[in-house]
Amino acid sequence: MTDAPPGIDLNADIKLDFQTINLQEVPEAKEEIRDLLQENGLDLDEQVDIFVVCREHGRLVGCAGLDRDVIKDVAVDPSLRGTAVSLRLGSRVLALAADRGHADLFLYCRPEHVDWFRGWAFHPLVEVPGVMTLLENNPLNLPKYVERLSRERRPGKRIGAIVMNANPFTLGHRFLAEKAAENCDWLHLFVVREDAAQFPYADRFRLITEGLAGIANLTIHHGSKYIISRATFPGYFLKDRSMIEHSFSAIDLLMFREHIAPALGINCRYVGTEPFDATTNSYNTSMKHWLWDVASASPPIQTVVVERLIIDGLPVSASTVRALLAGENFAEIARLVPATTLEYLEKSFGPAREPASR
């Protein structure tokens, strides 16, 4: 539902129709929307299904895409910019998102349009100069998160960080964490929060905690929507791996450099070499660029690439474990994961046990 504006409708003379479209159900609208976006210097994000569109006498003059709690692909015909059309469009998108359970939202736009979206009650968080800006519409969230993180600060010259998905946790993950912890005064490890992986977040977090027991200079942090999330780095979660070249890690890495790292005094970030997954590999390469090379008001962060643990001649990887799991090859899995992970996998995915009463 959309609330009616109070008082006199100053737009009464402009005849506009608003509509919510699901591109899965109305694919013919896709080309129209793509054209309007292109006129406005934007590409249609193929991941966005829901659009609020605005038509003047049937002609498409405005659109705004919604992907769960992220607004993107917003365009308004130049003839209508500066009118209240944008605010009406925005109000409808916000109402739609709220109906679908999301009131706190992110928004992507080109940096030169940031002031337009301040009118939508969004404020900028991170900007990739000349390319795109990430905004959100709750000014309390990021500062609150940063304040909570900063309570976990530890003293030291070398404060490291790892961001880990661990789908599931392997001996390779443990090796990386051990090497990083040896190399730092303190290590902060963040677990990717999104439940887009095969193993649910709660299980991944628990296996990481169990698998890293014994490392004294380590804090394991719950992930958040500000670290490798669908909002900051949607490309990471794409099912279609051929879209890899278009996945854009800059927003996520700049968020890390400008907001997360300063809260904890992090000055180095550890990653393992990535022989298998092209998205992660290109992310690691981008890391050096955005965390170190580019000029920023925020201190540079050193990227340390650690060679993967090799077992039986092959780098240990979670994707290998998942493939072995599909074949129920627990004997092979046992060589690649700690006992805690093996126990979990056998319990959750192993052959059904014999009934006790026989």
């Binding site: 959309t2 504006p5 109000s91 709220a98 359970g101 999301h102 706190d104 519409n137 709750n138 000014p139």
Partner: protein, 97 residues
């Protein structure tokens, strides 16, 4: 009233106000006001919002108000609507409003 989900009321348009009510993370009542006329009317806006929350017995919530020059009665009406939606209210006790 217990705030059980995220909800909004109002629009982004001139003379209106957008009110967002969210469940509290830490049991507190937190209010953030954004307004083009924050210097002239910030105090009144805060007072109207807090009085309305109090009349609806909201003790724990996060409330974000984005004002575009709305009259006091509009602010109160939008806060009421957002709270009722965020509380999932099925029956409304009009006497407290």
């Amino acid at each position: 009233m217990d705030i059980i989900k995220e909800a909004i009321a109002g629009t982004l348009e001139s003379s209106d106000v957008l009110v967002k009510v969210l469940p509290s993370q830490d049991g507190s009542l937190t209010l953030h006001v954004q307004s083009e006329v924050i210097k002239q009317f910030g105090k009144q806006i805060r007072a109207s919002v807090m009085q309305t929350l109090d009349a609806l017995s909201v003790q724990a919530a996060t409330v974000v108000v984005s004002d575009k020059g709305a009259l006091d009665c509009i602010i109160r009406a939008r806060v009421q609507a957002a709270v009722l939606r965020a509380a999932g209210a099925q029956e409304i006790d009009w006497s407290v409003l």
